[in-house]
């Protein structure tokens, strides 16, 4: 591991930590504009985090140590996820630690911890949220895995860096299977990030909430960490989607110039992606909870279809 790679890795993590709340703020702002509301400031998520960190933690009487431990684990998982997804450069020393399958595992680990924490205090909404989260998870996880299988078959590798390198820096080829995978991935990321057709990040209506129901009992720094982790998750999913389906502009190897160029490219891509996300959220209505499995089942089937198309049209491995 050379020094440059190490610095690049640290920079990528720091950038993720700093940029993630901004992305959330940007999406919120776009949503407000599209819905004809006056938008909160762009930096609102930062103010939120600061405020929450300043506040005392108010812990329910029935909370166990697991409840206090879980936000840190979720946060740690998301940091790792952001560390191995190429945002600026594919030269990441941490990338061999976890390939795409392990990446799905990281998200799964975070999910289990937050669902368990939701059940810990023993309130009706907590368990409801935990159950719903696992419901979304058990459908989203295989769909995501199948998306990854399709990309892995194209690049003959499950390592994120190799996949992105293959897609970004070889001759331009149209992969029809990626169209299927891309749609499936979009579906999954909406479900995983508690976005509108499945969940509503802004809701506090008891019957509809999933993510919010799980974190009802959290306060102070714990809540701040969970919110931050949610932002990081959105950032990670956006970057993963961009890296898999629009990989152009990511620096190859350790060229400093490429890295410098990659920053504005990433910013532009994220801005467009966030605006699109807000747009899709605006034109869709939230489905009722038992339509969500259908939504995700469709994603799963599209991903499998992508795999099949890959096998039929694009030659054998």
């Amino acid at each position: 591991m050379n020094v440059f790679g190490f610095l690049g890795q640290m920079f990528a993590i720091a950038l993720a930590l700093l940029l993630a709340p901004l992305l959330t703020g940007w999406v919120n702002q776009c949503r407000a504009w599209l819905q004809n509301r006056s938008a909160p400031p762009l930096l609102q998520p930062y103010y939120m985090l600061h405020k929450l960190f300043l506040k005392d933690v108010v812990l329910a009487h029935g909370a166990s140590p697991l409840f206090r431990f879980a936000p840190f684990v979720v946060f740690g998982c998301m940091v790792l996820a952001c560390a191995i997804i190429p945002t600026l450069s594919t030269d990441l020393p941490l990338a061999p630690a976890a390939d795409t399958i392990a990446l799905v595992g990281v998200f799964g680990l975070a999910r289990i911890f937050i669902a368990l924490a939701a059940m810990d205090v023993g309130t009706s909404f907590g368990t409801l949220g935990g159950r719903r989260e696992m419901l979304i998870g058990f459908l989203a996880e295989p769909a995501l895995l199948m998306v990854i299988f399709t990309t892995a078959m194209i690049s003959q590798s499950t390592s994120v860096a190799t996949i992105v390198e293959t897609l970004a820096h070889r001759d331009f080829i149209i992969y029809p299977s990626l169209a299927f995978a891309g749609i499936a991935f979009t579906f999954v990321s909406f479900a995983e990030n508690a976005r509108v057709p499945v969940d509503n990040p802004a809701t506090h209506l008891e019957l509809t909430m999933i993510h919010e129901a799980m974190i009802l009992e959290y306060s102070g720094r714990h809540l701040a960490l969970i919110e931050w982790a949610a932002s990081l998750k959105l950032y990670a999913y956006s970057c993963l989607g961009l890296a898999l389906f629009f990989p152009w502009g990511i620096a190859e190897g350790d060229s400093f110039l490429g890295l410098l160029l990659a920053i504005p490219v990433l910013a532009i891509k994220l801005a467009i992606g966030g605006a699109l996300l807000a747009g899709i959220e605006t034109i869709n209505a939230k489905v009722r909870i038992f339509r969500a499995p259908e939504f995700l089942g469709t994603a799963f089937l599209f991903a499998v279809l992508g795999l099949l198309v890959r096998l039929l049209l694009e030659g054998r491995v």
Binding site: A60, L66, P96, D99, V106, I112, M119, F125, R131, L135
Partner: protein
């Protein structure tokens, strides 16, 4: 004096287990002597078995002949690498379980402790002998000893009718399986009269007879392992048995069936056909989906784990099927990858499932309650058990960085190569099978969250749970040992693969170890680092660093203040333990989405009910589709035969006489 050979050491261990068992009979009611002396000694022997097997791995096979049994038919024994991997599993898993058992058994529960000790140690010794057997005769003797001793262990609490029923069912299916295995051996010896495994290896069977032998073996070992449709004994027997026995059966005994299947399909049958793999994989997929769906809807904690075991056995069968397919097409390096996944999952499952069963044992002791609906909040009273169970839960859900993930990862990696198969249907269908595997793994997470969340988290659902006590020191040691194994298997995959690779090499002629060793012990890259890599230690370290740094920074920059207060719950005042999800409530989405998969009896309350209640009972379709019709048929058949029964001795003598005459006429040379 020749040095002590490993095979001799293992034989001595088997004898030692037997001696310990018999020693239990010396003072069958002296609980203190038996549990605090004999069981720990049994654990020591288990440690020895594990270490000897570990040391043996990579050596060339050793044979021995025991002059017991029938004249001219001695026991042939052989220790090779495949057997050693499973002996390793048996030894190390039994260490944890025996130590736990030292603290587990209480006075006045069914069978006398001395008898129990005998049955338990015979069970262990016979499992070891199954692994060492090198002819059909020795194998079947050991196999039957294993079945019988475990039957007696299952029916320890034989005063309950349902436990006797579970034991009967287990015995019945075990014997159907044993008959199938016996027939399979018969086919493989193909009339030569030589029932040693060496003789069977030398036979070259025609594809038809080879397939017959394979299918019989799949049925026979499948009945022991719990493959569909001969799985029904498993969810009955596991909850009935005392927890250490459930742990031993689920963690180790099911693996002996996997061992048998591997032995037959890769060692004794020389030429596998590709469709064997398809059969094994299809049954495996069906079993895995069935097992995981049923495990999510159970309300009894041990039943939940039993169904989860069925799921894991299904995944193992999928792996074996994939290995067979690759092997049949001579893609040996890929077959080695899938085989490694299978062996790894055997080890991993032995660790985490034993751990979880033992945890349910502690919970059962502390609360006298198996039903999930009456538990809850035990993390406050039983922190040791709760935190150690968390390790088992994460591993069982197939999540990094623990053991279950490694085998799942290897299996998915080998699935990624399946489009390269030279068969036009397989290369499309097999990758889709990977999608089902992914779904199963994700559903396992759902089941495990239910298991853990309902037992250990939340508010206590019953008043008497306040008196629950944590596991005792012996139990803690056993649990820590198994959790340690789970962690070690999770973070040191390359080292472990270096050990078990000898078995892969023996069966397929090639292994993974060389490639894995190239990249250092901390990294798992079975093909090349560009293709795929996983570094669990760095993975763990990164998350740990983020957790610690985050915690320190927050405390330094802000503060660490904390207040306790009542739960918020959106401001609802009425917060009782009854407001939480029940076990049935938690799995309601699964029951709804996969409704056709279950046979449900539900009672819905109506407005007019005086005491409204909701109840749901989920039953197995197979009972109604397969077992009850067969049972009815058998009953009708026996009723016909009853007519022969007249009660007069003269008639019976006439039957015998007629039989004799017919035999004399027919059996003339």
């Amino acid at each position: 004096m020749p040095a002590l050979l490993p095979i001799d050491a293992l034989l001595i261990a088997a004898c030692a287990w037997l001696v310990l068992g018999i020693a239990g009979l010396v003072a069958p009611r002296n609980l203190r002597f038996i549990s605090k002396t004999l069981f720990p000694l049994g654990a020591l022997v288990g440690m020895m078995v594990g270490l000897v097997a570990l040391g043996f791995l990579g050596e060339s096979p050793e044979v021995a002949v025991l002059a017991i049994g029938l004249p001219d038919l001695p026991f042939h024994l052989r220790l090779d690498n495949l057997a050693a991997v499973f002996a390793l599993l048996l030894g190390f898993a039994s260490v944890g379980i025996s130590i736990f058992a030292a603290g587990y058994f209480r006075k006045g529960e069914g069978t006398a402790p001395g008898l129990m000790c005998l049955q338990y140690h015979i069970f262990l010794a016979s499992m070891l002998m199954v692994l060492l057997a090198d002819d059909a005769y020795a194998f079947m003797v050991a196999w039957e000893c294993m079945a019988l001793s475990s039957f007696f262990l299952v029916t320890t609490d034989h005063r309950h009718a349902e436990i006797r029923r579970a034991g009967y069912l287990y015995l019945l299916i075990a014997h159907i399986g044993a008959i199938a295995i016996l027939l399979s051996f018969g086919v493989m010896s193909s009339g030569s009269g030589d029932y040693s495994f060496a003789g069977m290896r030398a036979q070259s069977l025609s594809p038809f007879w080879g397939s017959a032998a394979f299918l019989l073996a799949l049925l026979g070992f499948g009945a022991k392992a719990g493959l569909l449709p001969v799985h029904v004994w498993l969810p009955e027997a596991h909850p009935a048995a005392p927890s250490p026995v459930s742990a031993m059966m689920s963690g180790v005994m099911l693996k002996t069936a996997i061992y048998g299947l591997l032995r037959v399909s890769f060692d004794l049958l020389a030429e596998p056909l590709w469709w064997w793999g398809v059969v094994a994989m299809s049954i495996g997929l069906a079993t895995a989906v069935f097992g995981v769906l049923y495990s999510t809807v159970q309300s009894d904690m041990k039943r939940l784990l039993a169904y989860s075991s069925i799921e894991n056995i299904g995944l193992l069968a999928v792996g074996i099927g994939l290995t067979l397919i690759f092997h049949a097409y001579r893609m040996e390096s890929l077959a080695a990858l899938a085989m490694t996944a299978v062996l790894y999952h055997c080890l991993a499952h032995a660790g985490f499932k034993s751990l979880l069963f033992l945890c349910t044992g502690s919970v059962l002791h502390a609360t006298r309650e198996r039903s999930l609906g009456k538990l809850g909040g035990l993390i406050h009273r039983m922190p040791w058990v709760a935190w150690l169970a968390l390790a088992g839960v994460i591993a069982s859900a197939g999540l990094p960085p623990l053991s279950g993930f490694v085998s799942e990862w290897l299996l998915l990696q080998s699935f990624l190569f399946s489009p390269g198969l030279p068969h036009p249907w397989l290369n499309m269908v097999v990758p889709v099978a990977a999608a089902v595997v992914a779904l199963v793994a994700a559903l396992a997470g759902f089941a495990m969250v239910k298991f853990y969340g309902i037992i250990f988290l939340g508010q206590m659902r019953e008043e008497n749970l306040k008196d629950a006590h944590d596991a005792g020191p012996w139990e803690r040691v056993g649990l820590v040992w198994l959790a340690g194994l789970t962690l070690a298997l999770g973070v040191l995959p390359s080292t472990v693969i270096g050990f078990i690779d000898a078995a892969t090499r023996q069966l397929l002629g090639t292994g993974l170890a060389d490639k894995v060793r190239e990249h250092g012990w901390w990294m798992l890259a079975p093909i090349s680092p560009e293709r795929a890599s996983y570094e669990p230690l760095i993975f763990l370290a990164t998350i740990a660093a983020a957790v610690l740094l985050g915690r320190q920074l927050v405390r330094r920059l802000y503060h660490g203040r904390l207040r306790r207060s009542a739960a918020w719950d959106c401001g609802y005042v009425f917060q009782s333990a009854r407001a939480q999800d029940t076990a049935e409530g938690f799995s309601q989405p699964i029951r709804r989405i996969f409704e056709p998969m279950f046979r449900m009896e539900r009672h819905f309350p109506t407005i007019r009910d005086e005491k409204p209640y909701y109840s749901v009972k989920v039953e197995d379709h197979f009972w109604h589709w397969l077992y009850l019709p067969v049972a009815r048929l058998a009953e009708r058949g026996s009723r016909l035969i009853t007519r022969l029964q007249g009660g007069r001795i003269a008639i019976y003598l006439l039957y015998s006489f007629l039989t004799l005459i017919v035999l004399l006429l027919v059996a003339r040379p």
